[in-house]
């Protein structure tokens, strides 16, 4: 094993001085400011980047109203080049419903955490899905209330240690997690429901595909879409940043199982898109 000083490294402080094509800029077009105070290794900016890229790729940004919930990700409500309507904790789906019903030509996307959508706001997302509101709800699921410091939510998995389940979530004391995407997929009003993760580059690519499909569902007026994105929270999980992707794969993704749970636009017999656990 070589010492780091013995490695021959390539210059990375300036663009290449030989002909080269820029294939990815620091931030996507719709992220004005990439700097944020979220923890090292947080999965939420990764998911938000994917969402902003998806909106841009489908050329929807001049019709899009995003409705933000309250959580760590709220930090991004202020620095995206897309219209933002700030809602209260758990209340984005009803606000999104009002916006979409008042302006049916707009694309309305909520961005909420698991604490926001499944704890505080379970009623709101279920009713919006049941009504078949033509909106897209995006849930960043890390199994904790991150912004308040890492407490148990309705999606926290059994055995997961949080500040309000220090010995690990116990079924007797704390009940069992709600698998929100699975719950929503059972509602007749839901048109597209998928769950993915951002703990690997491959999964990030799958997340993007799923987001594109959800946005298309809305753009076509096909009904309610939900994308649940498992994100890393090393702080809330009490793990090192490098261990968080494996923690996600081993603990969250084995309970909140990835895949396309419902797609009314899919042809019969077409295989649902599978998500690897890592």
């Amino acid at each position: 094993m070589k010492k780091i000083e013995e490695l021959r490294v390539v210059r990375t402080d300036a663009p290449p001085d030989v002909p080269a094509r820029l294939v990815e800029d620091f931030t996507p077009r719709l992220v004005d400011v990439g700097a944020h105070h979220l923890c090292p290794g947080c999965g939420e900016p990764i998911a938000i980047r994917s969402l902003m890229e998806a909106i841009d790729e489908l050329d929807l940004v001049r019709r899009t109203i995003t409705v933000f919930g309250i959580g760590c990700y709220t930090a991004f409500s202020n620095n995206l080049d897309v219209e933002v309507l700030q809602a209260l904790h758990g209340r984005a789906p009803s606000v999104a419903t009002g916006a979409k019903r008042a302006r049916p030509d707009s694309i309305v996307v909520t961005l909420q955490g698991d604490g926001d959508m499944v704890s505080e706001g379970l009623q709101e997302v279920l009713h919006a899905a049941a009504r078949g509101e033509n909106i897209t709800c995006v849930m960043l699921n890390n199994g904790v209330f991150g912004e308040t410091g890492g407490h148990m939510t309705a999606t926290t998995v059994l055995g997961q240690r949080t500040k309000t389940s220090l010995e690990g979530r116990d079924p007797v004391a704390h009940g069992r997690p709600i698998l929100l995407a699975d719950l929503v997929a059972r509602l007749d009003g839901a048109a597209y429901v998928a769950r993915c993760a951002v703990n690997s580059a491959g999964n990030v690519a799958r997340t993007k595909r799923v987001l594109l499909r959800a946005l298309e569902t809305q753009a076509l007026g096909a009904g309610f879409s939900l994308v649940e994105i498992l994100t890393m929270c090393p702080t809330g999980w009490f793990v090192e940043t490098q261990e968080a992707p494996d923690y996600l794969a081993d603990n969250l993704a084995t309970v909140h199982i990835g895949g396309v749970l419902k797609d009314i636009r899919a042809n019969h017999g077409q295989k649902a898109d599978d998500i690897e656990s890592r």
Partner: protein, 107 residues
Amino acid sequence: MGRPVHVRGVAPVTSQRAPGAVSESGTILTRGTVVIDVDACKGCDLCIEACPPGVLVMTTHEVNDRGYRFPLLMAGCTGCRACSQICPDFVFQVYKYETPIQMPAGR
């Protein structure tokens, strides 16, 4: 992008990923490169594992202006954008060379 700050001490580096084949002359075909915003990095290490050819390595004792270790790039980058897609802090700008370059291997 700031100057890395050198801190006392030396430690060996390990990598779990293998870059592309190193030629007999000790070079490796490199298809792309990155620009790294060193001071944006928060040292989370996600890019290291995410890089398919394994050509990113974290500094061990050098830190940026905020006190975080940051990634260095070796030869063999393919411009695949895995690093930029997995990075939570928008550290990477990714380029693909018009013509791939044989570069001296990093290791």
